[in-house]
Symmetry: C2
Subunit: 255 residues, 2 copies
């Protein structure tokens, strides 16, 4: 199984702490060693890093661990190949443009007999079920809303419906962001935490590392971390329900 | 003016030597300090790095200089902003998917009054004339050839025609690759060299560095480097003609 990590914040925040614990699971504490990737929104732009080496051995992952890229929306993924061979084009997250916005997508799970009709402008470059699902979502959003980004409530409803449809084919834990909101859908396993004032210390599960967030934040900062398995041992994570889609904006899940 | 660097090879080759000289021009020997970017094809996948810091100061550029990523098609760009503010979404190269292939594009020059009708699926995320030109090219290729990548001769003819049309609006030196071929169009300034057996020593113009390619190659290797201004002092570079489109495959320009 792959693992997913997302971050959504009200101010640009670096993900060094969470990524360090997460990346350790790629070839370190866990057997996710068929590649990894991470995408950071910065304004409308995206920094996109993918690698088919285990994150623990990758010089690109080393850069991410050392270079504090600040972002309000980040999606990361470590891969255990279930469909598609080990290759750069099969590494998540995937990036495509729709309505003049980049969309970033990553998926954990396995879809069986999922062969959507892709007759719009989005075609998979690799051969994963995940990239096909992403192309299908963008195609259907474009078909439904035409030429411009819709308001959030109808967009959320459309994504929720598409996720439910795709999840009938198997496990569909996924994260999707257009740089303003982060959509997270749970089939089997997804947890989140909101860190806000008063900030406290957090201790990573996977690496001997802790950080006192009160030293690196201001009282108005708010950061949501969404991840397959909780990253820290001393914080309370909330588990998603099966079939639940949550939308995170400015570091908070919408009601 | 921005500068462009492209590499097209018959075997995956690293670009560390050429990029080192080229990156020095971003904030070092020249005044191209409004960002930079580089994209490497690896199989069907793309590694894409962009930054709005000068390449000479960028930790991401430092990674590229140290980590020999091997690729058969690379496009790099250093930017002096003429249109569009300094932001990640305005850094070249740009990447989009068409026909299940990633396309990578970078442009040097300035287009005046270029407002193509973008009524297909590609919309600029940033606000440069360059990204608009890229979206227009992909839209028109998709309109002309429908749903699948055409054979090279009609694709080349179509790209040649589109470049000539766009160049009526201003300077349009550009590079475009789908991972198999590298298309380079010259309005004002573009040079290339083909390095092949017997390999010799090359000395960078912009940095006190030389490399003996005979020590790092095999006799069957062939590498074409395409660049705005020649990178080395002791090799003979061929200048493109105005309005010329060249297509490079396996390290050679097609006749």
């Amino acid at each position: 199984m792959c693992q997913l990590l997302g971050m959504n914040c009200n101010v640009p925040t670096d993900i060094v702490f969470s990524f360090t614990g997460f990346a350790t699971r790629s070839g370190g504490t866990d057997a996710h060693n068929d590649g990894w990737g991470i995408a950071f929104f910065e304004g409308a732009g995206v920094r996109h890093f993918v690698d088919y080496q285990a994150a623990i051995a990758s010089p690109v992952a080393e850069l991410i661990r050392r270079f504090p890229i600040k972002s309000k929306n980040v999606i990361a993924h470590i891969r255990k190949a279930t469909q598609g061979h080990v290759a750069l084009e099969n590494c998540h997250p995937f990036v495509r443009e729709l309505w003049g916005h980049y969309f970033v997508f990553a998926h954990n799970g396995d879809l069986k007999g999922f062969n959507p009709e892709l007759n719009g402008p989005y075609r998979p470059v690799g051969n994963t079920d995940s990239e096909a699902a992403f192309c299908y979502i963008l195609q259907e959003l474009r078909r439904q809303f035409g030429d411009a980004l819709p308001a959030l409530p109808p967009l959320r409803a459309a994504i929720e419906k598409l996720c439910a449809e795709i999840a009938t084919h198997g496990t569909f834990n996924m994260m999707l962001s257009d740089g303003s909101a982060l959509f997270a859908h749970c089939s089997t396993n997804l947890h989140y935490i909101v860190r806000q004032f008063p900030f406290a210390e957090a201790v990573l599960c996977d690496e001997d590392m802790k950080v006192d967030f009160s030293e690196v934040t201001t009282p108005s900062d708010r950061v949501a971390i969404i991840v397959t398995e909780p990253l820290t041992t001393n914080e309370t994570w909330t588990q998603f329900k099966t079939g639940e889609l949550k939308v995170f904006i400015d570091g908070m899940p919408l009601p």
